[in-house]
C-alpha cells in the first residue's frame, strides 16, 4: 500500500508562548478532497505550512507521499496557493505561469494552466495590473501549472465576490474530479460542504471533528433560542439539554440547538420563567463558532 498523500503524526507547533498546533494526527489519502474548517487563528494555516514543510514542527513529523515535505521530489508533486504571498508585479501572467511550470517535471502548458484559472483574457497583462480577484486566479494558475497530484489551497476565496467564488469553486471541483487530492482551508462551512467529502474541524490547534460535511452539519446547531429570565442561571440549569452552546449575559440567555422543541419543553418542565422568548435560525458562522468552542471546552 502506498503512503498517504499527506500525513501529520502527532505534530505540534509552538510560536513562543502560543501553541498554534497541538498534537494533530491525520492522514489524507490520494484522491480525497478535504476541507480544514475552523475560525480564524484556529491553526489551519500553520497546519498547512507544516504539511508543506515551510514550517518545522516543534514535535512530531509531517510527511508528503511518505517523504520529508522539504524533499524536492515531494514538492514536485504538489501545487500551493497561500494567503498573503506575493508575486513579481513586472512579469506578465503567461511569463510567470511558464516560469513556475519550469519548476516541475511534467507541467501543464501555459495556456492550459491559464485556462484552468480562467485568466485567458489577462494572459498578456503584467501581474501588477491585475485586480484582487484576478490575482487570486493567478495564484490558482501557479498552483496547478505543475500538474500536481495534491493541491493545497489556504483560504482560496478570501476577498472574492460571490460570482468569483462560485466560478473558483467550480474550477477546483473540476480539478478534484480528475482524481487529484485537494486540501483546502476555509472558514466557510458552505464552501467546505460544496467541495469536500471530508471535513476536518480545527479549533485552538486541535482537531475536534473529522467526518463528512453532512455529519458536521448535523452537529452544528441550526437554531438559536433566546429569552430573558429574572432568575440567575448557571451551568447546572442547562445540564442534560441538547444544546451545543449556552451564554448568559445581563439576564438574557442564548442557546444554540438542533432540537428547539425538546429543549423548550424541558426548560418549561424545569419551571424556568421566560420572557421575550425567540426562536430563530442561527447563522451558520455563529453556530459553527459556538460548536468549536463548545467542543474545545469538553
Amino acid at each position: 500500500m502506498s503512503a498517504p498523500a499527506v500525513q501529520l503524526e502527532n505534530v505540534s507547533k509552538r510560536y513562543g508562548e502560543v501553541l498554534a498546533v497541538d498534537r494533530i494526527t491525520l492522514a489524507i489519502e490520494t484522491g480525497e478532497v478535504v476541507a480544514m474548517l475552523g475560525p480564524n487563528g484556529a491553526g489551519k494555516t500553520t497546519s498547512i505550512s507544516l504539511m508543506l514543510g515551510t514550517r518545522k514542527p516543534t514535535s512530531g513529523a509531517a510527511r508528503l507521499f511518505g517523504m520529508d515535505p522539504r524533499d524536492l521530489k515531494a514538492r514536485s508533486r504538489i501545487g500551493v496557493m497561500l494567503q498573503e504571498s506575493g508575486v513579481p508585479g513586472m512579469l506578465k501572467v503567461e511569463e510567470i505561469v511558464g516560469l513556475f511550470g519550469s519548476y516541475y517535471p511534467a507541467p501543464l502548458t501555459v495556456s492550459e494552466a491559464v485556462a484552468m484559472a480562467g485568466l485567458q483574457e489577462k494572459a498578456g497583462s503584467l501581474v501588477k495590473d491585475l485586480s484582487g480577484g484576478q490575482r487570486q486566479r493567478l495564484y490558482l494558475a501557479l498552483a496547478v501549472c505543475g500538474n500536481p497530484d495534491v493541491l493545497f489551497l489556504d483560504e482560496p476565496t478570501v476577498g472574492m465576490d460571490v460570482e468569483g467564488r462560485r466560478l473558483f469553486l467550480q474550477q477546483i471541483g473540476e480539478f478534484a474530479a480528475k482524481g487529484r487530492t485537494v486540501v483546502l482551508t476555509t472558514h466557510y462551512l458552505e464552501e467546505a460542504d460544496q467541495l469536500a467529502r471530508r471535513v476536518i474541524v480545527v479549533d485552538r490547534g486541535r482537531v475536534i471533528a473529522d467526518s463528512t460535511p453532512a455529519e458536521i452539519k448535523s452537529r452544528v446547531a441550526g437554531k438559536r433560542i433566546t429569552f430573558n429570565t429574572s432568575r440567575p442561571m448557571g451551568p447546572n440549569d442547562f445540564a442534560g439539554l441538547s444544546v451545543s452552546s449556552h451564554q448568559v449575559a445581563a439576564g438574557r440567555v442564548r442557546l444554540l440547538t438542533n432540537e428547539p422543541e425538546t429543549v423548550l419543553r424541558e426548560l418549561f418542565r424545569r419551571g424556568i420563567e421566560m420572557t421575550q422568548l425567540e426562536v430563530a435560525g442561527a447563522d451558520l458562522e455563529e453556530a459553527f463558532v459556538a460548536m468549536t468552542h463548545h467542543e474545545a471546552a469538553t
Binding site: L52, G53, T54, R55, K56, L72, K73, R75, S76, I78, V80, L82, E84, S85, G86, V87, P88, G89, M90, L91, E95, I96, G98, L99, F100, S102, Y103, Y104, P105, A106, P107, L126, Y139, L142, G146, F152
Partner: protein, 262 residues
C-alpha cells in the same frame, strides 16, 4: 516513468530570464543602473577627456575615468539596484510562495546573479560606447577585453554584498542603507576624485575598501598607474572580500528564513 524533479538547466535559464526582465522592466532600476555611470562620465569625464594623466604617451583622463566609472557602474548595479530589489521582494512576501515550490534555492540565487551580471554588462557597454565615441578612449582590443573582464569579475563580491544587504535591510530602509554605504565608499575609494585630493584619513582608509581594490585592477587594465601594491595584492583582497560578502549573504539569508519558516 517521468523523472521526479524538473531538469536543472531549463529551470535556470527560465529563472535567469525572468529575473532579468523583472529588473529591466522597472525604469527606476534599469535607468539608474544602466544610464547613471554613463551620465557621470558625461558630466565629469567628457570636459577634460583628452588631458593626459602623466607624461606624453600615458593614459588620458577620458580613459582613466572610463575605468573609474566601469567599477562604479558594475558595483552600483549589485549593491543599489540589486540589493534593493531583493529587499523589496522580501517585503512583498514573494519568498513565501517560492518556498513551497520545488525550485532549489541555489537556482534562484544563481539566476539572480546572472540577471544582475547581465545588467552590469549592459551598463558597461553603454558607458564604453560613450567613452569611445565622445571621450576619446581608444584602447587596444586586449585592453577593452581586460577592462570588461576585470570589471565583471570585480562585480562578483558586490553580488554577495547586495544579497546580504537585501536580506538584512527592510524594503523601506534598503534604499537609504545601501546609498549610505555605497556612495561614501565610492568617493573614499577614489572613483570620483583622485585619492590625493581627499582628506588624509580617507586616504588611510581607502586601501581597505573593496571598491578601491577593484578600481586598481580596472585602472590597471587601461594602463593607468595604480597604488596600493601589485595587482596580485588587489586580486587577493578581492578574493577575500568575495568570501566575506558571501558569508555575510548566507548568514543574512539563513537568519531571514529562520525567522519566517521555523
Amino acid at each position: 516513468m517521468r523523472s521526479a524533479t524538473a531538469p536543472f538547466l531549463p529551470m535556470l535559464a527560465k529563472q535567469s530570464w525572468a529575473e532579468f526582465i523583472k529588473l529591466f522592466r522597472v525604469p527606476a532600476f534599469s535607468t539608474t543602473s544602466i544610464v547613471l555611470p554613463a551620465m557621470f562620465y558625461a558630466f565629469i569625464g567628457l570636459g577634460q577627456a583628452n588631458q593626459l594623466m602623466g607624461p606624453p604617451g600615458s593614459v588620458t583622463f577620458g580613459e582613466y575615468f572610463l575605468a573609474s566609472m566601469a567599477m562604479y557602474g558594475v558595483a552600483n548595479v549589485m549593491v543599489l539596484g540589486f540589493g534593493i530589489s531583493v529587499a523589496n521582494e522580501r517585503g512583498q512576501k514573494q519568498d513565501l510562495l517560492m518556498q513551497s515550490t520545488p525550485l532549489p534555492p541555489i537556482v534562484f540565487f544563481i539566476a539572480k546573479t546572472i540577471s544582475a551580471l547581465a545588467i552590469a554588462f549592459m551598463a558597461l557597454v553603454v558607458l564604453s560606447l560613450l567613452a569611445y565615441s565622445a571621450g576619446g578612449a581608444h584602447l587596444t582590443s586586449s585592453q577593452w577585453l581586460t577592462l570588461f573582464l576585470r570589471s565583471m569579475l570585480c562585480s562578483i563580491p558586490f553580488v554577495g554584498l547586495g544579497f546580504g544587504l537585501g536580506y538584512i535591510a527592510g524594503p523601506n530602509s534598503a534604499p537609504a542603507v545601501t546609498n549610505l554605504i555605497y556612495l561614501p565608499t565610492a568617493f573614499a575609494s577614489g572613483l570620483f576624485f583622485p585619492l590625493n585630493l581627499l582628506p588624509p584619513f580617507l586616504q588611510n582608509i581607502a586601501p581597505y575598501l573593496p571598491l578601491y581594490r577593484g578600481a586598481q585592477l580596472v585602472w590597471d587594465s587601461v594602463g593607468a598607474p595604480i597604488t596600493g601594491g601589485s595587482i596580485t595584492t588587489d586580486w587577493l583582497w578581492m578574493g577575500g572580500y568575495t568570501i566575506a560578502f558571501f558569508v555575510l549573504a548566507i548568514w543574512a539569508y539563513r537568519r531571514d528564513q529562520g525567522r519566517k519558516f521555523n
